[in-house]
């Protein structure tokens, strides 16, 4: 896919592909995904008995989990230094009237295109992006309370564990949905892999996006 897109000289079909993500956005996504993957895998090894029996080495797994968790927000923070990334965050932040239509369509399971108007990001992607950012920070905060136990009062530690456990389960499910939807849309994946998508896909999935 990558090879073909790059090998194609622009003069054959100049507007066949439109630019969706720059280098910064792609690398931020890649590194965040990798770190999140490590967090989820090590969490499974600490939490699910069958995995724990397979892997053991509890102390090492705990260390890897803690480190990948603390580093998880770093790619996004570095991304903030780049204009292209901040522009995309702006898109994710702003909700227009069409987003309300999209959300209603999603809730009603209305699959017609007219029920799902979207700009560069659809309303679902916006909600997901902002929620996972907030959830990651909650995981970071509760994780630090569990890690540096002497810094927090007695009650807080148990409470932090409770929130960390339940939010982990929720994130696991939501992340599964995120990955599942990406698996169902090869062109969306190509967008994050190569940076560009077909004009036809852009028109169909993001009709209000003016690239």
């Amino acid at each position: 896919m990558t090879l073909r897109a790059e090998a194609q000289p622009p003069q054959t079909e100049p507007s066949a592909r439109v630019r969706r993500f720059g280098r910064t956005e792609r690398w931020v996504h890649r590194t965040t995904a990798a770190l999140m993957g490590i967090c989820v895998f090590t969490a499974a090894c600490l939490y699910i008995p069958q995995f724990a029996e397979l892997v053991g080495r509890r102390e090492l797994v705990v260390r890897v989990h803690e480190l990948s968790g603390v580093v998880l927000p770093v790619p996004v923070l570095i991304g903030l230094f780049f204009r292209g990334f901040r522009v995309n965050l702006g898109f994710l932040n702003r909700f227009g009237p069409h987003d309300r239509v999209w959300l209603r369509g999603a809730l009603m399971r209305d699959k017609r295109r007219s029920a799902r108007p979207a700009g560069k990001f659809n309303a679902g992607q916006k909600v997901y992006a902002n929620w996972i950012a907030g959830a990651t920070l909650v995981m970071l905060g509760t994780g630090l309370m569990m890690w540096f136990t002497h810094l927090t009062p007695i009650m807080w530690r148990t409470s932090a564990t409770f929130v960390h456990d339940w939010l982990a389960l929720t994130i696991g499910i939501v992340l599964g949905g995120h990955i599942g939807m990406a698996l169902g849309d090869p062109e969306a994946r190509a967008g994050l892999r190569t940076g560009s998508v077909s004009r036809e896909w852009a028109k169909r999935e993001h009709p209000l996006w003016k690239p």
């Binding site: 630019r19 724990a52 102390e59 907030g134 959830a135 905060g141 007695i154 009650m155 389960l169 690239p211």
Partner: protein
């Protein structure tokens, strides 16, 4: 980038309300609220899940937080399996008669059965779990503890885990060298064939895969205690926790 393609239209960004930020901050706020209300939520959740897990043939509720049941923790990559043929428990150190017990030897001694809650320092608690085995005090008395002894150190055949108790603690009647758990022979995953069972303390004191008991002069902190856990691990009175006592 293709120079013909214009920058992403700023208009789409500028119009619309900044609701994304609110979703993010709202999630953060809910997280904080969760931490504050956790003690209440946790009690309710334990009740519901405890009732559910009793009628759950799939065992999936066991994977939910506070879903009940035991969790497998091992500090090493793999633990050798021992059985009646090759298992040995040695007792040495400051004793008159260093001894080595086989599994059959231990089974031949008088057995004590205790049914109490198990409380892990990470939060999970399993109610009313039967443990059965030989009182540690009986093994210590049989070996003849010398006068200057003050503590007992436990080693395990996983090759890494260690624990210890003061001699006074070790002589309590609710501390067993356990051979059975939940009225079944101790399986490998639960630390079988023989584990320590320290009823009144957090479960990390109940060393799995017990293979050695050494009587010493002073307490030497065990594996997790070198990593910050309390040596005197009374349930509800240590590790900054306030769980109900188990024994």
């Amino acid at each position: 980038m293709n120079p013909e393609q214009p920058e992403p239209e700023v208009a789409e960004k500028a119009e619309g309300r900044p609701l994304g930020r609110r979703v993010l901050l709202g999630t953060l706020g809910l997280g904080a609220l969760g931490v504050v209300t956790a003690p209440v939520l946790q009690k309710g959740m334990e009740g519901v899940l405890g009732a559910l897990s009793g009628k759950d043939p799939t065992g999936l509720t066991g994977l939910l937080p506070n879903g009940g049941g035991f969790r497998y923790y091992s500090v090493t990559a793999s633990v050798p399996h021992k059985n009646a043929a090759n298992y040995r428990l040695t007792i040495d150190g400051l004793v008159d008669k260093p001894t080595s017990y086989t599994l059959a030897d231990l089974r031949a001694l008088p057995q004590t059965r205790l049914v109490k809650d198990v409380q892990c320092v990470t939060g999970w608690r399993v109610p009313g779990t039967p443990f059965e085995g030989v009182r540690l005090s009986r093994l210590l008395d049989a070996a003849g503890v010398r006068a200057k002894a003050g503590a007992v150190r436990f080693t395990c055949f996983d090759g890494a885990y260690t624990e210890s108790l003061t001699l006074d603690q070790a002589r309590r009647s609710d501390i067993l060298v356990a051979l059975r758990m939940q009225d079944k022979p101790l399986g490998h995953d639960h630390g079988g064939p023989v584990r320590l069972y320290v009823a009144p303390m957090y479960f990390y004191k109940s060393a799995k895969w017990l293979s050695g008991i050494t009587v010493t002069e002073h307490v030497k902190p065990g594996y997790w205690e070198d990593r910050g856990y309390d040596v005197d691990a009374w349930v509800g009175k240590s590790n900054g926790r306030d769980d109900d006592p188990t024994s």
